[in-house]
Amino acid sequence: MTDIQETAKTSVGNVAKPTDLMATAGQLGRWDFLRYGAAASVGAAALLYGQSSKPAQARVVASSQPLAVTPLPGVLDLYINDGYLKMVDASLVYHRGFGDRPTDVNDANPSLAIVPKVFTADGRLVESRSYPLDAVLPPEGTPLPYGPDPANPGQYFIRRNYWASYFPQRTIIAEVGSRIRLRVHNRLSKPHEFTLHGAGPNRGNVSTGIIDPAGSKLLELDAPAPGTYIYSDPTNQPVERVLGLFGVLLVIHPDHQWAIGEDLASFERQWLWICHNVDSVWAGIEASGGTVDPRKTKAVPRYFTLNGRSGYESLGITTNDALNLATEEETLISGYPRQVDVRQFGEGTELGTLRGGQLVRLVNPGIVFHQMHFHGNHLWTVGRNNYPWPRREGFVDPEGHVVVQQWEDVVELEPMDRKDCILPIKRPPDAVNAVWAARTTDWGYPMHCHAEPSQTAAGGMYPGGMVAHWTLKAPIIGTGP
């Protein structure tokens, strides 16, 4: 974390006129008071604390909370907001989240998650739903093939280092070599914190420390090693995380944008799947100003989400075309069948082609043990929690898990776990030959969690929970055998 005083110097330059001080202070919040020094800030700080002095039952600080702060180049502002989100059954449930802009609890469209952002190695901060930034966008999320594979009728050569990937809300991407700069603004009445789990030295956490109500803090670090990291508010563990204060940092090496890391598995495109769950009892307690004691009020999740959506919304079969498209691009894996050899995910035998599948990064900032089951193809799991699994000298770890690269049709995903899996997108191996040869349509396969209560919404409505599907795309006319 940077020294706040030092960072303040940068912003002082932005505040040209002393007469603007109070107005600016009103916009910048507590973080800026600190940088003017304790003595100078007493009056203004008192003003702000006076504004935030609400009864214990208050949900948010005063309505005169500062508006959006003045942006700083290369700094990502995260606003800790609250509000109500519509669940898959159309009921509204209280949430908190790290948002892009300041919003109040009654906002009809509260900002509780950020649009994906990218910290580039050359020092830019770019808002983008896709990465690599200059790569071709796959139509509806589906990478098109390079061309037919003449030796394998109905299958295709896959383009290597070509297609961009779309990412869901809450994603921060940082290229290796970039400097991550986050300014976190607490707009609520309780203290909060922003922590990047496992992103520090020796895989320790990196945190802003406590951010008081109406306060702001800057967190600055070099991008850690390539991998997937969860960020969350660890306050009153795991309550604030369950309420929505979580997201994912993805670190990618700019020289290996289509690989997990140097000398690690390559992929056609990647998918980030963020699993979560919503406990409306906990939400109700916090919404009415209480504080959940997770030891006394056992968590009973009522909704289960994948990239923020559940059930038919997560399957992209609503009457809302824009929502369906976003789901197709961000969540619903799709691709053309290809030959894969799990012994090597790398360059194909044709120039510009890849012998490999698509990478699914499974991330669980929620609190339930998920069991991610894919129909149609097994997944090849290559690592857990940024530890690549070996291909030789495997072993059973002290927790009773086998540590070696392996096929799985159900992937265990404990709370706070991250797993990297390759979906080969190959011919479903047990399909009868004649059926495969006559295929003219897309073949869709479900993905669901086999801890089946997670497939419900509001106590029923199967499959209304954390569900998705993947599609083996239909043969392209004119490229058949």
Partner: protein, 499 residues
Amino acid sequence: MTNVQVPNRRDGRRTSMFKRQAERDEELAKRQREAEKKAREAAEKKRKEAKKKAREANRRKSTPSPSATATATPSATASASATPVPTPTVTASPTPTVTASPTPTVTASPTPTVTASPTPTPTPVPPVNDDGTPSHRFRSQADFSSDQMDVDNPVTEFLQTPQTAVVLKFFSRDLEFDDGNKFEIWSFESENSGRSLPGPTLRPKEGEIFHATFTPSKGAHTIHWHGMEPDPRNDGVGHTSFEIGETYTYQWQAELGRPGDPNYGAAGTYFYHCHVNTVLHAQMGMFGALVVDPTVHPDYPVSPGARRAFVDGPEYDIATECILVPYSVDARWHEMDHAAGLSGEDVGLNRFEPKHFYLLGGNLADPGDTDDRVWSLSTIQANVVPGERKPTLLRILNANYLPNRMYFTDAEGNPAQIAEIIAHDGRPFRDTSVPGVPSPPCSAAGYPLLTSLLSFGAAERYDVMLTPPSAGRYELRVEWEDWITGEILAKRTVPIIAT
């Protein structure tokens, strides 16, 4: 329909004979699909009307279905059906991961072939849903949940002569468990299996055509062949194909294994289960074990009385092969109806709170008389290793919704490293470190995955070779954990008798 044999899929040239046959098959399939489509539309219309009436009746009766439109004004209180249970619980904390020493991936340097300019990017054709794949859109989750498509008699495309065929029916009755408790169980029965839990163990071979003709009752059901990967129609999932109204013959062909090749082969442990309102139907007992055996490869002959776990896998003793199926019962769920919750009513299916914990299964070669009772595991017989007989294979299938841990101990409860994990989810653990050369099983590569503890969750399967070094009593302790807090909910122990 003739049994069409397609040349190896790596062989790019198909014979003209096959083409003609394929064209005929395709034409027939088209006609079948058209007939089926008409039947489906009629059935769907009829069923929609029935469901509409049921929904309206349900609304009048109790819980309103959620409205399709959301209001922008938030309500101050969150809706909640669950009454918080004031039982102190421990918050789940992430389990520390043991660091695997990252072994650099060996990368072969493939020599790219210089080719002519790439084929122009083909323009994909919009998918035409002529095979029953739903192209529906839904206005609400309740609409989607209550509107799964069922078809009375869907057609099996390209029906071939099976080498293994089974006829399965649905049954429902109260069954007694080994602790004396009785619960209403829904499950599958075959012509000669009797009515038991789990459903009959099915045992096809790699490379063979498998048929299962299923006639459900008490509402629409399906069979999903968990871990087997056929086309969607034979995958048995309602929302990606259809639910069965009257009868359907599932057809698939377990992929043939190739020695040393990690990309091929289906031999291993699987299960089958209903995929309609799965959260409820699987808990009610609609599942059974599915074991795919390898076809004997000439390079890997098999000793008398033994079988291989997979094509180039280790031999095991057929007589002592055993399956263990952790299962648990939430008695509240066993009072529910077939379609509980589907119309939007809150029936608490997000709360799985079992109070009864069971180890189902037993000896696969001689399961005994299981008719009208639960098949319960009381003892595991294991062969001493090394010994005259081949080792014992223990197949494990987690059929509940909770994480399990299994501890292998000696008679005094000390950890005993007598479990060698050889496969997971129907796939062997292999050494894949060198591209382009055979990938031996881990044991053959010099590092058997030995352990005294195995952790796994819902629907996972593990194949374990038992390796007790001397005769006597060992134990297998199974623990069920809470799916949120990780706290231990129950323990059960079965003896392992090594001889």
